[in-house]
Amino acid sequence: MIRKETLLKEMNEHRKTIRVATWKAFKRNKISLLSLIVILSVSALSTVGIVYSPYNPYQPNFSGALMPPSLAHPLGTDWLGRDILSRLIAGGKYTLGLAFVAILIGATIGTFLGLASGYYLGLVGTIIQRVSEIFLILPTLIIAALFAAVLGTGLLSTLLAIAIPTIPVYAKLVHSAALRVRNEDYVEAARLLKKSGPYIMFNHILPNILHVVIVQTTYYMGTGILTVSALGFLGLGVPSPTPEWGTMVGDAKDYIFSYPFVVFIPGILIAVVVVAFNILGDGLREALDPKLRRLL
């Protein structure tokens, strides 16, 4: 007689072991753990920035312009006397928020398109892939600039300018990952069990390529932030006086000769966050690698 309840419990317990082991493998790499902490704290600050910042990020104060870092203004003030720290806190929702929402939209749509074209190889798949290739011919920044040119500067157009070029990147990536899984015998076995295409796509293919999508999304968050800020820097993104970090650098660039901190503080913050995303991506790639499971 089988101990039914215990077995069912063991099954669920055992399901957790992979998650636990993945987290342990991730934790072992201290630098990626640090990156995660950096990302979480900057995101937390930016969330706070939606409702609160120490000073008004928009209010000029000409008497206190271009002051170096001090106790009152830990990161100094800009040429209009605005507190740089407050502007960074308030600007996070633009730089990080835009990148986050745009990449999430692009990644979701792209993943589904890639999955569909990877499983149904016919005409639909070919069309999805051909259109993706056309998008991929042009560099992300140039497509984004093109969208910005057509739609004008602003939140929504920057969002679209980042999200749309992301779709083909994921469509291509997921397509090739799905193709590899599609040829595995367990997919054939599921077909022999009369399972439908969508069932196989979501139950057999997606779970086995999800790690690729997660890792790519981590890297792509960095790319998204770079594109948002590059557009802002060029004056094609979120327009000033909005404290989007790239816009802040762009607006301040002429002060490089006399007050370099005004330029470099937002610039370095962007770099730090993107570095953190890239290192986090490396860490996740190692921790989520299915080959590792064999070693558990």
């Binding site: 317990e13 595995e184 367990y186 054939e188 076995a189 599921a190 022999l192 069990l193």
Partner: protein, 302 residues
């Protein structure tokens, strides 16, 4: 009773974008499988035997010809044909536990811990295995789970595509015994695709010898092994290191399987055949009966 039948099936795989060059993997094959027997399909790698197996299972649609199940042709899958694949690492979804893998094959009514445990019992695994992921199983255990999934679907026919080739020597015997056991208990019909003549001799009732996309000889296993009629069959038998009946005449091995893109004219085996005549170049020999259930496609008579 014929349970599964292939009627003049063809499958070509295009390899350039214009579709002018094609691999002629299965090039006009007819065969049948009788209920509760084991039919073996043998040949070298690249002979098209795997494609033929996939056509019989329904995974690959033939370009031409029909597959008949109990006399009527079928479209799509009916669940009565299941397959056991060669590579145990590829045949189980790595993110699924054994319970999910096996119960996937059952309809919702039957899906339960007890019935999964019952099937695992049949393939010699104790119920504790339901929690395991494929990476926690050895090659032999994976193959047992794959067999469990196949029989959980309550099939009538199981296609065994080199079921033990990837396993360690001491495990092979376990799996072969299991397969014989299951057939005895449940009366499954097997189609065994294998390059190893020792195994074919061991478990098959009838054998089909394939060469370059064609059937060259077919018949009862004893008859074909003890009185082979096609020089290719004789060559395969003499090359084997297993203890099977040795052919009376020796055909020395030469050359390799020809390209399936441009197969030789006439008889495809003539490029390697020590008995090839002028006629073999021109005209392709057709299968003819040498005895009631023994067919061969060769102009020579041995």
């Amino acid at each position: 009773m014929k349970i599964l039948e292939a009627v003049n099936v063809y499958k070509y795989f295009p390899i350039d974008i214009f579709g002018r060059k094609k691999i002629r993997a299965v090039d006009g094959i007819s065969l049948h499988v009788a209920s509760s027997e084991t039919l073996a399909i043998v040949g070298e790698s690249g002979s098209g035997k795997t494609t033929l197996g996939r056509i019989l299972s329904g995974l690959v649609k033939p370009d031409k010809g029909k597959i008949l199940y109990k006399g009527s042709s079928f479209n799509g899958f009916h669940g009565k044909v299941q397959m056991v694949f060669q590579n145990p690492d590829s045949s189980l979804d790595p993110s699924w536990q054994t319970y999910d893998i096996v119960s996937e094959a059952m309809n919702n009514r039957r899906k339960s811990l007890d019935s999964v445990a019952e099937v695992l019992e049949l393939v010699g695994l104790n119920p504790a295995y339901i929690t395991k992921y494929p990476h926690e199983l050895s090659g032999g255990e994976k193959q047992r789970v794959a067999i469990a999934r196949a029989i959980a679907a309550e099939p009538e026919i199981i296609i065994l595509d080199e079921p033990v080739s990837a396993l360690d020597a001491s495990i092979r015997a376990q799996i072969l015994n299991l397969l014989l056991d299951l057939q005895e208990k449940k009366g499954y019909t097997y189609v065994l695709i294998d390059h190893d003549l020792g195994r074919v001799w061991h478990i098959s009732d009838r054998v089909v010898v394939m060469y370059a996309g064609k059937v060259v000889e077919e018949g009862k296993t004893e008859e074909v092994f003890q009185d082979p009629k096609h020089p290719y069959t004789i060559m395969l038998l003499s090359a084997s290191t297993s203890n099977i009946p040795k052919p009376k005449i020796n055909v020395s091995i030469q050359g390799e399987l020809p390209s399936l893109i441009n197969p030789p004219s006439g008889c495809r085996f003539r490029t390697r055949c020590p008995f090839a005549q002028e006629k073999c170049k021109v005209e392709e020999p057709q299968l003819y009966n040498v005895s009631r259930e023994h067919e061969v496609a060769c102009y020579n008579q041995f």
